[in-house]
Structure formats: C-alpha cells, structure tokens
C-alpha cells in the first residue's frame, strides 16, 4: 500500500530540550496505526506536529510524499488531539454545524448524521459543557469526521469511556477503516484495546520512535513460549536441545526456561520430558500480549 503520511527526522524542542527527536514514522493508506508510549514520551507532540498545531524544530512531515506546508495540509484530515475542542455553551449539533459551515459541508442533515454515527443524536439542545467525559470524546470524534477525512488522528480517544463506549468506538473506527478506507493514527494507553484492531504499531520512548511493526510482525516477534519451571532448568534445556533439536531456549532463571520454538506443540515437549523421566514442576504455554512486548522494549511498568 502507498504511504499516506511519513515523517523525516521530525523533531520538536521545547526550551532547548527535545520532546521528540528524529522521528521517522511511516503510515500506509488504510492502516490503523497504534502509537504507544508512556506519559510524556512524545506521542502527543508527534500528533500535534502532523496536525499542524505546532511547528517542527527540525525535520518535516510528508503527506502522500509531498512535504507538508505548515498550515496547509495536503489531505483531508480530522483530529482529536488531547482534549476535544468544542464551544461549551453550544449544543453538539451547533458545534458540528459551525465546523460544517467552515468546511463548506453545510448540507442539510449532514451534521445530524455525524451525531448519529457517534450516538449523540438524542442530546438535543443540551449544552456541551454538561456532557459526560465519554460524550465529550464522542463529540470530538464527530468533529474530526466532518471533512470525511483520509486520515483520522486520535489521541487517547477512549479515555474516560465505559466498556460499552470503548467497544462502540472501536467498532466505529474499524467500520470507518474498512468501509470508507479511512487511515487512522491513534494513541492509547489501553494497549489490550489497541491490540484488538490496530494493524501497525509504533513505540515511542523518551522522544524517540524506537520501532515500528505490523500486526503480523508483532505476532512473529512476540511469539508466545512454553514456560517450564524445574529444579535444574539448565539440565532440562540441554535435554530438550539434544532430544527434540530445539534451538530457541532461553533460561530466565536457574529454575525457569522458555521455549520459543515448537510453541504449537506443547504436548510433544511434555511427552518427551515424561518419557525421559525429567521432573518439572510446571509447564504451560504463555501468551504474550502487546503490553508484554511494550514492557520488554521500554523496560517499564507504566504504558
């Protein structure tokens, strides 16, 4: 697929300190790109740079291969970065109508149809300031959808939402992606949720985009393993290497080892150990999550 957005050594400095440094991001058309990082890692800075909210200190943003002229995006773009921006004294419909008017999309019923998409159609004349956090997020998403964007930038869009709301937004994003071909760049702390629908991931740490990978690559890189606990893990590893010709065995402690290959056949391993009368106290298949992978890369506890 062709590249919709990329960045070339994109950097942003605040008071001499880099909030983002040399980021080379690549988003293909049709991707759901999950941007992952700790608080203050530089996710929002990157999203703001792509949305022309802030100017880069160095580097550039490319949209469809052409450098972004600051303030003149080359593609239809919708964004919800940080908190949703709306006029608190107006209703959801008024807020949408204002943007529809500014975008030249003031067709009759269009704003209402956007409210229906995000399930705010029944809010009537209720002022946006009286909305719950989840409703505000939905309004922010509706505002981002006004220009029928090719690229949708969402910064923590499911913050403050209840489980049903999170599911609804996920389904909406997947629907937009599949049916309308909207490319989505999304950051979220809820990694398990992101893992359910993102097709590509980027991990950002301390202002550096340290890696990018597809869902398929994640599955390969992040293979699950057969974890064995035994009194002498080294002896067990040696026996498995010799008897089953396993190559990728890692000792995580003197009593614990992880087999990375033959994950699909834990029964073969257990039968071999049983036949060889090798005592193990535990043997199970461990499924690694995106969170595990993220923690492994960033060495932290907080996503």
């Amino acid at each position: 697929m062709s590249e919709l957005i990329s960045t070339d050594k994109l950097s942003k400095k605040y008071r001499g300190k880099y909030a983002l440094k040399d980021a080379d991001l690549h988003i293909s058309q049709g991707d759901i790109y999950g941007l992952i990082g700790r608080n203050g890692a530089g996710k929002t800075t990157l999203l703001k740079l792509i949305n022309s909210q802030i100017r880069p200190s160095e580097g550039r943003v490319l949209m469809k291969g052409r450098p972004l002229v600051y303030g003149s995006p080359g593609i239809a773009l919708g964004a919800l970065v940080e908190s949703p921006g709306f006029y608190p004294d107006f209703s959801a419909l008024d807020n949408l109508r204002f943007k529809c008017q500014a975008m030249g999309r003031d067709k009759k019923g269009y704003a209402q149809s956007l409210l229906e998409i995000v399930e705010l159609a029944d809010t009537g004349s209720k002022k946006a300031r009286q909305f719950s956090l989840g409703m505000k997020q939905r309004l922010g998403i509706a505002l981002a959808l006004v220009d029928e964007p090719e690229l949708l930038i969402l910064d923590e869009p499911i913050n403050g939402m209840d489980p049903q709301g999170i599911k609804d937004i996920r389904e909406l994003l997947v629907k937009l992606n599949r049916e309308r071909g909207v490319t989505i760049l999304i950051s979220s702390h809820i990694l398990d949720e992101l893992a359910k629908f993102a097709t590509t991931y980027g991990i950002i740490k301390d202002g550096l985009l340290i890696t990018e990978f597809s869902r398929e690559e994640l599955e390969v890189r992040n293979t699950s393993g057969i974890e064995i606990t035994a009194p002498d893990a080294q002896a067990v590893a040696a026996a498995l290497k010799e008897g089953l010709h396993l190559q990728d065995i890692r000792l995580s402690s003197p009593q614990r080892l992880v087999i990375r290959d033959r994950v699909e056949a834990p029964d073969q391993v257990s039968r071999f150990l049983f036949d060889q009368r090798i005592y193990v106290s535990q043997l199970y298949v461990r499924q690694h999550s995106l969170e595990d992978y993220f923690m492994g890369l960033t060495g932290g506890n907080e996503a």
């Binding site: 909210q53 802030i54 303030g71 995006p73 964004a79 921006g85 709306f86 003031d106």
Partner: protein, 287 residues
C-alpha cells in the same frame, strides 16, 4: 474564506452574550438619558443661550436641545463605556476558539490561521455595526421620550460611527494579537478592558512627562482620540448650544478631526494585523 466568515457570523448571531452586550448598552443609554433629563436645565444655564426664559421654561427649552446626534455623541464621548462593552464582548468572542480548543478542529482547513484572523476582524466589525445601530436606535427612542423630533442625519451619524469603527477595528486587531500570543481568554479580556477604557493613557502621560520620546505619545492615544470626536464636525446638522458650551464634542479635550484619528487607527490596525499573522504562524498553538 467565505465559509469561514459565515461560520463566524453564524456563531456571532447565536451567541447570547452579543444580545446581552447590546441590552446592557441600552440600559446604560437609558441611565444617561435619565440623567440628561435632570441635568438639562443646568447645561442650558451654563450655555447661556436661554436667558430669555425662566423656571420651567428653561428646563423645557433645554430638553429640546437633545436630538439623536446629541445623544449618540453623548454616549460615545470621553472615556466611553460603549467601546468597553464592545471590547469585552469582542475579547470573549475572539479568544473563545483558542481557549476552548475548537481552533484545532479547524487547522485542517487550508490557511486556517489567516482565515481565523480575517474572519474574526470582519465578524467583529459586523458586530460593531449592529452595536452602533442599536445605540442609534436607542438614541432615537430617548429623543422621542424627550418629546423631540427624531431627526436622523445619516451622513453625520455614518461618518461619526464609521470613525469610531476604525478605532474599534484597531482594537479588534489588538485582541487578535493578544489571543494569538497569550491564548488565554482572561489575558485577552484584560487587554481589551485596559485599552478600550483608555487606561494606557496614564502610561502615555508618564512617558510624555519624562520626555522619553521626541513627540507627545498621548496625542496619538487611539481611544483618547476616538473619545474626543465631535459629531457636529460631520454632516449638515449644525452644532447646538451644548456643543459650543463643551468646546467641541467632548469634555476631555479639544475635538479630534478625522485626519487625526484615521491615520492612527488604520496604522495601528495594519501593524497589529501583521504582528498577529506572524504570531499565529510562528507561535505554537497550545490547545
């Protein structure tokens, strides 16, 4: 650009504060008219033109001096509350998009920052026109209440309020600059209030006192100049007795001519607009 402008006007006419501002202006106008009713005889005595009359006749004759132009001029002269009302409303309106974060929704529009600047200035100019029309309407009403014929000299009122609008335009440009720079509603409000109420004149006077500049800065204080505009220097309606008593249009100094106010207003507007553009382009949006 048209779409952006239409959005601004749509929001303007849906903003309750705009109607409240006009209402407050009318309330103030009513208070000033009531005061004028009771002060009429005093003013007339001072003017010295009603010596032939006495007692109730003086008061009655004095009240006849109040026409539409006189009232309109009255409410705009000196350190005007009218500019303050308009400035406070404009500060809230102009800064609202940045403060609320709505502005970031609009950044995907090509040239959004430039359109924002033009849209805000023109929509506030529109608000100013409506606001002054309300003041003229109020002046007509109080003239009728005084029992006088509401003669409307359009050329006179148009020129007078048009010049006030040039001062307002520069004020709107200043508020745009403050918004782009501070991105805070409170800060823009303070700037709006200080400048519309001419508080900066004290600073100008101080600078003039120490002869820091080769010219008198206070002579170029825009709102001061606007406050001293004499409505009777425009149009065909001749100055009345009250005007001659006040030595022009204001109690605060000699009357300002259009040739004095226009260059200052338009010059400031141009400088502030360019500074706003540069600030919008080079200052990061915090929202």
């Amino acid at each position: 650009m048209i779409n952006y402008l239409l959005m601004d006007f749509r929001r303007l006419f849906k903003t309750r504060g705009f109607y409240l501002t006009c209402l407050w202006a009318l309330v103030l106008l009513g208070i000033m008219a009531t005061a004028s009713w009771f002060l009429a005889d005093q003013l007339a005595r001072n003017a010295g033109g009603l010596a032939a009359f006495s007692g109730d006749q003086i008061i009655s004759e004095a009240r006849k001096l109040f026409n539409v132009s006189r009232f309109a001029s009255f409410f705009m002269s000196g350190t005007s509350f009218m500019h303050l009302f308009l400035a406070v409303f404009a500060a809230g309106f102009i800064s609202r998009e940045h403060q609320s974060g709505y502005f970031k929704n609009l950044l995907s529009i090509r040239g959004a920052r430039e359109k924002w600047l033009v849209g805000k200035q023109l929509s506030m100019l529109g608000a100013g026109v409506v606001f002054y029309l309300v003041i003229i309407l109020g002046s007509v009403l109080v003239t009728l209440l005084f029992g006088n014929q509401p003669v409307i000299d359009l050329a006179q009122l148009g020129a007078f309020f048009g010049l006030h609008l040039t001062a307002d335009l520069a004020l709107f440009a200043l508020l745009c600059l403050a918004t782009a720079f501070f991105q805070s509603r409170a800060a823009v409000m303070v700037v709006g209030m200080v400048f519309s109420f001419n508080m900066q004149a004290l600073l100008y006077l101080l600078i003039d006192q120490i002869n820091f500049l080769p010219f008198k800065l206070s002579e170029y204080g825009m709102m001061g100049l606007a406050g001293r505009l004499d409505i009777f220097s425009f149009g065909s309606t001749p100055p009345d007795m009250l005007s001659s008593m006040m030595g022009g249009g204001s109690l605060t100094g000699p009357a300002t001519t259009p040739g004095e106010l226009l260059p200052v207003s338009l010059g400031l507007w141009a400088v502030l607009t360019v500074l706003s553009l540069l600030t919008l382009r080079y200052r990061d949006y915090k929202g």
